[in-house]
Symmetry: C2
Subunit: 624 residues, 2 copies
């Protein structure tokens, strides 16, 4: 909750009219249009404190790390302002761009001028490093200038360009600063000149460029950027970048039957394809998107995490979901949010909101510590105590991705269409939504995600058509509005006309999930979930090894108020048995009586794990 003095600190920059992350206001093939990041003001104690930590702790700390690790110095060096060698990994420029994007949306949302200050000086360093022809990549400068555009499969030039374009758009829309935007557009023009139709054929080795170019088209109205994004998508499957499933270059996208390869590449690519579809309406792309999305559900963890293999950070076979050896990169869960958000906007199908919410609250959010200073790259679903969030990584894609997601999170809450306002996410908040030529104030009064009761207050001249998301995880949903009461159908949007207020009640019992037996890794196990939150059992807070815990799937478990690192949460409590594993000589024995000790257990939300002392953790509990 914000104090009054904090509230007074937060002003919205007056000159910015809109700060869209995805601006689909002119897109033809979308079911609902996204709102801008400034429309929603979160007032809850789940997200709002995380955003405050983002602005006050995380963003400044990352800039400090950028300086320490040479990421800013790389730009100075490329601009001729510093000497020495390029430092770090080939795609390190992208971290700076992603940070700028996060700072921009954070500024638009919070109005904190120090964010504007931080961004401006970095933007100056970036644009000074641009070549006369528009090229901008600090790795390929000086003696490496001759290596430009030599190996798009591996060299990440188009990847860095994509993030530059996204940062340019963000700083223009959210800060009103066109310096970076103009620079990024010049680079985009160079790319279109070099790799446009009838030019040299290439494909981004690591997608993101596709999304960025479509957004640049949306920002400028210039069709060459959309055409270039479409071309990058159409050229896949011709072996231009090696022809491997890892690169999603083995078959054309329209012919892909399964989603494969590097998880982040795959889901960024799908997001870009969705963006192209939104603008072109090419049905063959939507058909591929739907098919590949269905396939991905067989390859998605209960946390919304994706990418089960350490080898090549890749998506595995259907139902291949190892727990302790889960890779489930934070970036892949974030990409899962991105893709599902776009699918939701395009189709209006509630299932995409479910998948977006799941990844957001679990597999993505686990990527950052409660104090905003350390990060998971890999997100296992079971661990012996060795996995801990790190303050940084040489390959820092995840830390600089989670800040973007948090920064534009408010924009995910609603969508609008001619049919009305779509409530996609729940959380205590006050929003001002432009819709059908008028402005509607929508307030959510709720303790979501800890409680499923949501009161929605509307302040509008005439009744507003609200489409309330009834999550697929709900067993039932009671809606009361304007003196009437109706049952919502889980997995759909419930449409109601609201003049003043409506109430939605989503009961949140502790659910016990079991896995399809095809998921070998989850056999004979139960996962606990409450509302959108997946729970895990940590050694911290329990006096037994959670890997030895067996619970009965027929038992009922209760949610109780708790506190974790001074954050209010709900814990799940129940009875179980701790198996005595000492009796196993090695790892197997004849079936028969196994000694058990009755125990009470406490489970905490998965996103919050590894914020206390190290120890074993597990999501899928042995069912006895």
């Amino acid at each position: 909750m914000l104090t009054n003095s904090e509230r007074s600190l937060i002003r919205r920059p007056r000159f910015v009219l809109m700060a869209f992350v995805i601006d689909m206001s002119k897109s033809q093939r979308v079911f609902m249009r996204p709102i801008d990041v400034r429309s929603v003001r979160l007032e809850d104690d789940f997200w709002a404190p995380r955003l405050r930590t983002l602005w006050e702790v995380t963003l400044p700390s990352q800039l400090e790390i950028f300086e320490k690790t040479g990421r800013i110095e790389n730009f100075r060096r490329a601009a001729g302002k510093a000497s020495g060698h390029f430092q770090g990994l080939i795609f390190n420029d992208s971290d700076v761009y992603k940070w700028l994007e996060a700072v921009a949306y954070s500024y638009a949302y919070s109005g904190r001028h120090e964010l504007m200050g931080m961004a401006s000086s970095v933007i100056d360093e970036v644009v000074a490093a641009q070549d006369a022809d528009g090229y901008l990549d600090t790795y390929f400068t000086g003696e490496r200038k001759k290596d430009r555009w030599k190996n798009e499969r591996d060299n990440h030039e188009l990847y860095c360009a994509g993030h530059l374009i996204q940062a340019g758009i963000a700083t223009k829309r959210a800060m009103g600063d066109t310096k970076l935007f103009n620079a990024s557009r010049r680079f985009a023009d160079l790319i279109c000149d070099l790799f446009g139709p009838a030019k040299e054929k290439t494909v981004p080795g690591h997608p993101v460029t596709e999304m960025a170019l479509v957004e640049l088209y949306r920002e400028t109205g210039e069709k060459r950027y959309l055409d270039q994004a479409q071309l990058f998508i159409d050229l896949r499957g011709r072996g231009i970048i090696g022809g491997s499933p890892y690169q999603l270059d083995h078959v054309p996208i329209r012919d892909m039957k399964e989603i494969t390869g590097h998880a982040v590449r795959a889901l960024y690519l799908m997001s870009g394809v969705a963006d192209v579809y939104a603008e072109t309406g090419d049905a063959s792309l939507l058909s591929a998107l739907s098919r590949l999305w269905e396939d991905l559900q067989k390859k998605t963890y209960v946390t919304g995490g994706v990418g089960s293999r350490y080898e090549w950070e890749s998506i595995g076979e259907a139902y291949e979901l190892p727990n302790a050896r889960a890779y489930a990169e934070t970036c892949a869960a974030i990409a899962n949010v991105m893709w599902n958000h776009r699918m939701l906007l395009i189709t209006g199908d509630e299932k995409y909101a479910d998948a977006m919410e799941l990844a957001l609250y679990n597999g993505a959010l686990s990527g950052i510590s409660l104090d905003g200073l350390s990060y998971f790259y890999v997100n296992p679903l079971a661990d012996r105590g060795k996995s801990r969030r790190q303050q940084w990584f040489d390959c820092a894609c995840c830390p600089t991705n989670i800040i973007r997601l948090l920064a534009y999170l408010p924009s995910l809450f609603y969508g609008v269409s001619d049919r009305g306002i779509y409530v996609n996410l729940y959380g205590k908040s006050s929003s001002t939504i432009s819709h059908a030529g008028r402005t509607v104030k929508v307030r959510q009064e709720t303790d979501y995600p800890w409680d499923g009761r949501i009161r929605i207050e509307v302040d509008a001249q005439e009744p507003v058509s609200l489409h309330l998301r009834i999550p697929g995880w709900a067993r039932s949903a009671r809606i009361s509005a304007e003196g009437k009461s109706l049952e919502g159908v889980p997995g759909t949007y419930a449409e109601i006309e609201v003049k003043d207020e409506a109430e939605l009640d989503l009961p949140m019992p502790v659910e016990k999930l079991i896995a399809n037996p095809r998921v070998l890794d989850d056999r004979g196990s139960v996962a606990l979930k409450r509302g959108p939150l997946v729970y895990c059992v940590e050694h911290a807070g329990n006096d037994f090894d959670p890997w030895d815990l067996a619970i009965s799937a027929s038992d009922e478990f209760t949610a109780e108020d708790g506190v974790l690192k001074s954050m209010r949460i709900k814990v799940v409590r129940g009875n179980g048995a701790a198996l005595r594993t000492a009796q196993w000589t090695y790892q197997r024995k004849e079936a028969g009586d196994v000694q058990r000790v009755p125990v009470n257990f406490t489970a905490v939300p998965y996103y919050a794990w590894a914020n206390r002392e190290p120890g074993p953790m597990i999501v899928w509990l042995l069912a006895r």
Copy 2:
């Protein structure tokens, strides 16, 4: 079973007195000494037909592939008899050496002259490729001569040398041909000259050299070979080959707490350390071996397979044993047999015989098809039907390793010491064992591994002290000898004095194994095992998907006679339920009633899987 005409074909070469694989006749620190491969004549219908297939089908077919793939041509080219480039992988010479070793022991055992003929012409090609200074590696010839000994971590020169030495010893002992032996010894001398004490320090990147040099010491009595092997072992952990756990070079062997790294490298190295211990009695080595062996048991599959990670073909964490994604390389299971055989010889501890038998009958034997013409490199414990044995691999270490194991398999059956004769493995056979200066004929009449009753007939001048292995898997063991009856203790050797005959009865119920809950991958599951054989359920022979099968751990299952590809086997039959998985939308649902269909299932021995039509297979069955 051999027909009489086949029996007449099999003669033992008269001039070969002994064909030891491991000659510990002079080793000081061994509990029991190995016997030679000619001592045992298998007469069963489990192993004897596999050996016949080896001689008649597998060995000739591999030679044909060697010619097709340039493996022999590489030697001709190095000898100046052919032109062109080196073909294949850097360590391809080793395949030829391993094949020669297999042919040599097969010849000694079978007396089939065509084997001698095949070997002789290949030996001529090999020795002609040797340089004047003793160097012999066809990759590093011509323009690559300058690259010799530049990168022992990766270049496999000492690895190929090790296999050459083993082949040289084998052809000398088993065929009486010293041509290859002399060549290999010259190469060994060169290695000792280059890398001996006070010379340039190196360590074999891929172990095997250590075992080979100790055996060369045993063959020649020349201590420099033993010293060189010891030096290679002592130099580990100093970073000479990179210092990584993958290479087992991160700490000195005596300080290793866990067995890590590339599974085959690790277990070959341990076998070499055991060999050095057997000759030197260095207690610090035995202590390391024991400690690392204990650790390996937490990393070993129920099949005796080892090496759970695709990444780097490596051993994973304790209890990390994925089933569908098991790597469990055939070579690693074979290395597991090799290491355990040596540990058994050194210590006499029955637990090593258990581990050896387990890997032999399951994880190693699964590596070759019943027809002897195709091979598994990777041995999953669950599969959707895609894994099939292949006729060859570019990296052909497994096909050329399984032939060695089969060729010298008879030598694993017994050990001898001053205390008597140790019966390590069971199978219908007639053996002539030299022991304490006399020759004892031992006959096993049994249907092992299908039945646990073994009648042992002894033909000796005076009573023989027999040490009968009572396997750790046995629940009980009744021994009758000379009118007396006693209970054997599982996990020990039972000593009895036998003049004429003894009987051992090992009941073989179908055991239901459960896993330590720390093995996440096997939770809530049951594996079926009978005697030394692990069973699996294949789709072939069942009318449901075995991944959907749930069985009750309290049910009893029966073993019945069956036939698979005209091989007599015992199948395991029982009742279970096939879960209806269609009801899962994706891969998870709320716990509750799951629809089941009662089914009868048939399980087959794991070694025999994938010999029928492709389809899903699983070892760890879901327990309901």
